[in-house]
Structure formats: C-alpha cells, structure tokens
C-alpha cells in the first residue's frame, strides 16, 4: 500500500532538488529569444512574437489532452485528422447559417463523442490505443477528403474568427484560451482525485487498482477530456484564417506528440505536467519561426524536432536512473 501511494505522490514534490522540465523549457525559450534577437533584431518585433503564439495556440491546447493520454500510458495518432474533421464541421456549420456559438460548440461535443468511442475500444475491449487510433486516423482522413472533395471553406460569417477577437482589448482570444486552459488543466491534474487517477493508472495499474481507482473509467474519462481539448483546438484552428483548408498541416499529430514529450510527459510512467507541454509547444513554434531569421533552411526543422525529442527522452531516462541509484 505504501508503495502504491508513493507512485501517486506528485512528482514535483519528489523532484524538488532538481531543475524541473518546466523551468528548463522556460529558460530555453528566453535563451532562444535573446540569441536569435541578437542575431536578427527583426525576430523581436511584437508582430512576429504574436504570430508565433497566435498560430500555434491550437497545438498547445491539443497537447494538453495528448499529455493526459500519454501520462496514462496510451497514445493518440488520430488527433491531426480529428482536428481537420472538426474544423471542417465548424466552418460548414457557420457557413450554413448556424448561430456562431453553436458552430463552435458542436465540434467540441463531437470531439468528446469521437474520443469517447476510441476510449471505449481501449478501455473495455483492451485494444492498444496505437491500433485503434491508427485505424481511426484512416477513417477520419479518408472521410474528410471524400466528403469535402478537397474544397476549401470560405465566405465565413463575420465574427466567426476567434483569432481576431481580443480579451480585455489586448490579449488575442486563442492565446487567452491557451493560457487559461493550461492553468486550469494543470490545477485539475494536480489537485483533484480525478486528476491524480491519471498519473496513478499510468504509473502502476495494479497499485492504482488497490488504491480504489477504476482503470476502465479513468481511461474513458481521459479520452473524453482529450476529445474536449481536441475540439477546442479544432475550433481555434478553424477560426484562424478566412479559409479552412480540407487538410491539416502534415504530421500535425507528430507535432502535438512532440510538444507533450518534450514538455516532460513520460511514456515510461505517470509523470509530466501540461504546463511543460504548453511551454514546449511555444518553444517548438519559436524554433520553427526563428530558423528563417538566422538563415537556416526551414527544411531542417523536422531534424531539429527529432533531436529535441531524443534529447528530452535520454535526459529523462538518465535522470530516472540516477534517482534509482540514489535510493
């Protein structure tokens, strides 16, 4: 029982002596901004920094849900296709004259429904998440293109674009949502029983069961919440530009998974926070944006992403090994 409780003790309490992933990422972002800013001051233009945050807020939001899924020991590779489908639904509803509130809300609900179905496959039929989401990715991707015929949605009604809305007259809506959702999710995961159950199930299923957590129900909850964030991300993606493409950026799911992993979420066991994943999403976006300013070909971006994942995972494993030795 005591061992079971130890795995449920928040990681931030055990790691007090070490520099946490979150601070490292923050440091990384600051260092990047300073270095690139010195090389090319145009990078520091307010407009550019705002573009980085605005254009990638939806990735950070999607990475919140993805982090929960990974913390529980699963993965979702259908998220990119799902965001594409939900964004198209949102845009089509708005063009069809459905009230704006509903055209934002319905895709979010659909996201919850779709992910709950996948969650049921994983939790109750014991099919590995990678297989379920792999199949679902084909279904969603194929469905999207054959329904839309690859036609872009335009003529969106005025007021639909959330990216042009400002909260308190200064903060763009997507950035505001990104910050609020990250803080809310982080609080929820750290301080509530439901939040802790995700770490417990991901850390040690047997121990979690002995503590009274229900594995199936916890997994269902995680996938439903993941669907909620996917829905919000899709709406943010749809309301970014005045057209909605029938395809999402290539490898969107990989970018989202990268943000989660680099943010400190470990597949090895239930650790990591969503503050880390949001900071990682910002860092990755900032790196992508900065390549142009320091005259590096953007074609190297993916290699940089891969290196980032590798370095983070290696650091995580070495850290665990050192901690295990110290015990």
């Amino acid at each position: 029982m005591s061992a079971a409780l130890a795995s449920a003790v928040p990681v931030w309490r055990r790691r007090r002596l070490q520099v946490s992933q979150e601070w490292l990422l923050l440091l990384g972002i600051v260092a990047l901004v300073i270095v690139v800013g010195l090389v090319n001051p145009r990078f520091l233009a307010l407009r550019n920094l705002q573009t980085i945050l605005l254009g990638n807020a939806y990735i950070a939001v999607a990475a919140i849900g993805m982090s929960m899924v990974i913390i529980s020991g699963n993965i979702d590779i259908s998220i990119g296709s799902l965001i594409g489908v939900l964004a198209t639904v949102s845009g089509s509803l708005a063009v069809a004259g459905v009230p704006l509130g509903l055209s934002w809300l319905i895709p979010i609900l659909l996201g919850v429904v779709a992910m709950s179905i996948m969650g049921a496959f994983v939790a109750y039929l014991n099919i590995p998440a990678i297989v379920v989401t792999l199949g679902m990715m084909s279904v969603l991707k194929g469905g999207l293109i054959s329904v839309t015929n690859g036609v872009w949605i335009s003529n969106l009604p005025p007021g639909f674009l959330l990216a042009q809305e400002k909260v308190f007259g200064v903060v763009p809506m997507p950035v505001f949502l990104m910050v609020v959702l990250t803080v809310a999710a982080a609080w929820w995961m750290r301080n509530t029983s439901a939040g802790r159950s995700m770490y417990a199930v991901g850390g040690n299923v047997e121990a979690a069961r002995l503590c009274g957590y229900h594995r199936q129900r916890t997994l269902m909850m995680i996938f439903a919440v993941h669907g909620l964030f996917a829905g919000v991300a899709a709406v943010l993606f749809a309301t970014q530009l005045s057209v909605i493409q029938s395809s999402v950026p290539a490898n969107l799911e990989m970018t989202i998974i990268t943000a989660s992993v680099v943010g400190g979420v470990s597949i090895l066991g239930g650790t990591g926070t969503v503050i880390g994943s949001t900071l990682a999403a910002i860092l990755i976006a900032a790196i992508a944006n900065s390549l142009v300013f320091v005259n590096i070909s953007p074609f190297w971006l993916r290699a940089v992403q891969g290196t980032l994942i590798l370095v983070t995972v290696l650091a995580d494993i070495l850290r665990r090994r050192r901690r295990a030795k110290a015990r």
């Binding site: 020991g73 496959f121 014991n126 590995p128 379920v132 792999l134 199949g135 290699a303 940089v304 992403q305």
Partner: protein, 331 residues
C-alpha cells in the same frame, strides 16, 4: 507500450499459439477469397493477370517493410521510423550519385548501408539505453525525415541511367522484377522465424522477456538484429521505390510505416508481442492491396478506400480479441 500492464492476464485453458494463429490465418484466407470473388463480379478489369501483377509491383515496398516489422512487433516492440528510413535512404541514394559523384552501383550499396545504420541506431538506443521503442522510433521518424529534407532541401533527383530501372519497372520471366526480390525475402523471413533458434527466440521474448533473459538468450542482441533488419529492408525498399518511380524525393515513404503496421496487425500478429506469422502478414498485405485496387476499379474514390481499410483493421482486431477471449474463458 505498457503492454504488460494493459493486457489482463489470460485465464483458463492454455491454447498453443500455433493453433490460434492458424485459425486467424484461415479466417483471413476466407475473407480474401470472398473479396476476390466479390470484386471479380463487380468489375471485369480486376481479375486479370496484368492487373494483379501490377498490384504486386505496387505493393513491393510496403511488403519489404512489413516483414521485419512482423519480427519487431512479435518481440513486443514497434518501429514507426521505417517510412522515414525509406525517405533518408532514397535521398542519399540520389544525392550521393548526383551531387557527390558516386558511381550509381556504389550509391545503391550506400543507401542500403544508410538504412542499416539507421535501423541499428534505433536498436542500439532501445537495447542499451532502454528507450521505449515507440518513443525512440517517433523521435527518429522525425529525425530521419528531417535529415532527408535538410540534405535534399526538397530538391528531387532524376535522370538515372536505363539499367537502374530494371528492378522497379522491368520484368523477369514474365513477372515484375521486384516481385522476385519480395518472394525471396518472404521465404527467408518465414524460414528464419519458424525454423531457427533466432526465430523461436523472437516469440519467447515477446511472450516473456524476463524469462527469456533468464533462459540464457541474449535478448538485447536479438532485438538489435530485428531493428537493424528493419533498417536494411527500408534501404532495399527505398532502392526499389526510386527505381519504380524514376525520381528521388524527400517525402518518399511518408505514411508507409502505418501501411506496414496495418498489414502486420491485420495478419494476426498481436501488438502485445509473442504471436504472429509471416504468412499472416503476407495475407494482410495482399488483402489491403486488393481492397485498395478493387474498390478503386469499382469507382470508389481513393480516400473512401482508406476509410474501408481503417475499419477493416479495427474490426479484425475486435473479432480476434473476442475469439481469443472465448477460447481462454471456456472453462
């Protein structure tokens, strides 16, 4: 991932794996025959020698990836980087010939070597540093693709000499050349899996890695070899791919890892490891390719075809899961 934790321990009478596999393979075989007959009735362009041979040509690359993928999944691992290894090998084949002045023959060997090395790197990190296979190959999936894009700067290489196209576009004894390569590979992989200590060790490891280690088998070396084979076959697939389409591009092989995994899983190899067969994988490959082709010929659009394949994949796993659960619970 977390396979030992998420799968409940099977209870009840133990059924030897071979019997279960045979059952899955015969179900697949029946589905395949039904699909063949149904599509044959729907369109008369489907069941022709020309069409079927052409389909065999088109599926050569994915087949070469699916064979080592079967090994990797039997050990309980996964390799998501094969598509990117194809891209990297293809780019270095074209680049070393066109920009570094390698003789083309040497470039082909170089591409195979690059693939092998890339696979070896995956295996080395997975066995020595103990990075989980899923996360390691997600990282190298981005990394290798990134190298391919960075090195080529998205320029394509064309204009290979005529002899280079024999493998990808030519025929030997009335059959596409690459089909012979695939057939040899299938036989080698099947025999090694069923008839050698190495093959049996793959199963043992997927079933219980710790017990295998205590049995005195070198678990790390077995795994390392499986991932390295995955890299070598990716290099070979890259060579055939470039030869077939006459050009080298950095986005080659994108998404191919998912096609390969879908075929392996559809073929009855458990994603948890410990069971599976090359025969099942081949059936899975053929079924997917024929569905794609047959549906396209009957007028279904390519994108709707992907939907069908995704649904078939999920359904077949659900059915197998239920069948296995019943066998275990029949006491």
């Amino acid at each position: 991932m977390n396979s030992t934790q998420t799968q409940p321990a099977p209870r009840g009478r133990y059924v030897p794996p071979r019997f279960r596999l045979a059952a899955h393979e015969s179900i697949l075989g029946i589905i395949l025959v039904v699909v063949l007959i149904a599509l044959g009735f729907l369109t008369d362009r489907f069941l022709t020698v020309d069409n079927l041979l052409n389909q065999a040509r088109l599926m050569a690359e994915v087949s070469l990836l699916a064979l080592p993928m079967t090994y990797v999944i039997i050990t309980g691992g996964i390799d998501l980087s094969v598509g990117s290894m194809v891209g990297l090998s293809a780019i270095l084949l074209g680049y070393s010939w066109h920009n570094w002045g390698f003789p083309l023959g040497l470039s082909i060997v170089f591409a195979l070597a690059v693939g092998t090395l890339a696979g070896f790197a995956n295996g080395w990190f997975i066995t020595r540093i103990r990075v989980p296979p899923l996360i390691m190959t997600i990282a190298t999936m981005a990394l290798y693709r990134g190298f391919a894009e960075g090195i080529s700067q998205a320029h394509s290489v064309r204009g290979y000499p005529d002899w280079f196209y024999i493998v990808g576009q030519g025929d030997a004894l009335g059959v596409p050349t690459q089909l012979w390569i695939v057939l040899v590979a299938i036989i080698v992989f099947a025999v090694v899996l069923k008839r050698t200590v190495y093959g049996r060790a793959l199963y043992a490891m997927g079933f219980n890695e710790i017990a295998t280690r205590f049995s005195g088998l070198s678990v790390d070396r077995i795994k390392l070899l499986a991932y390295t084979a995955s890299g070598l076959m990716s290099g070979l697939a890259a060579f055939i791919f470039v030869s077939r389409v006459s050009t080298t591009r950095s986005d080659m092989g994108m998404g191919m890892e998912l096609d390969a995994i879908a075929a392996v899983v559809l073929g009855g190899t458990s994603i948890f490891g410990g069971t599976g067969s090359i025969g099942g994988t081949v059936l899975g490959l053929v079924l997917i390719q024929l569905l794609k082709n047959g549906l396209a010929l009957t007028g279904v659009k390519g994108d709707a075809t992907i939907m069908v394949i995704g649904s078939v994949l999920i359904l077949s796993i659900v059915i197998t899961n239920f069948a296995q659960r019943e066998r275990y619970a029949d006491r």
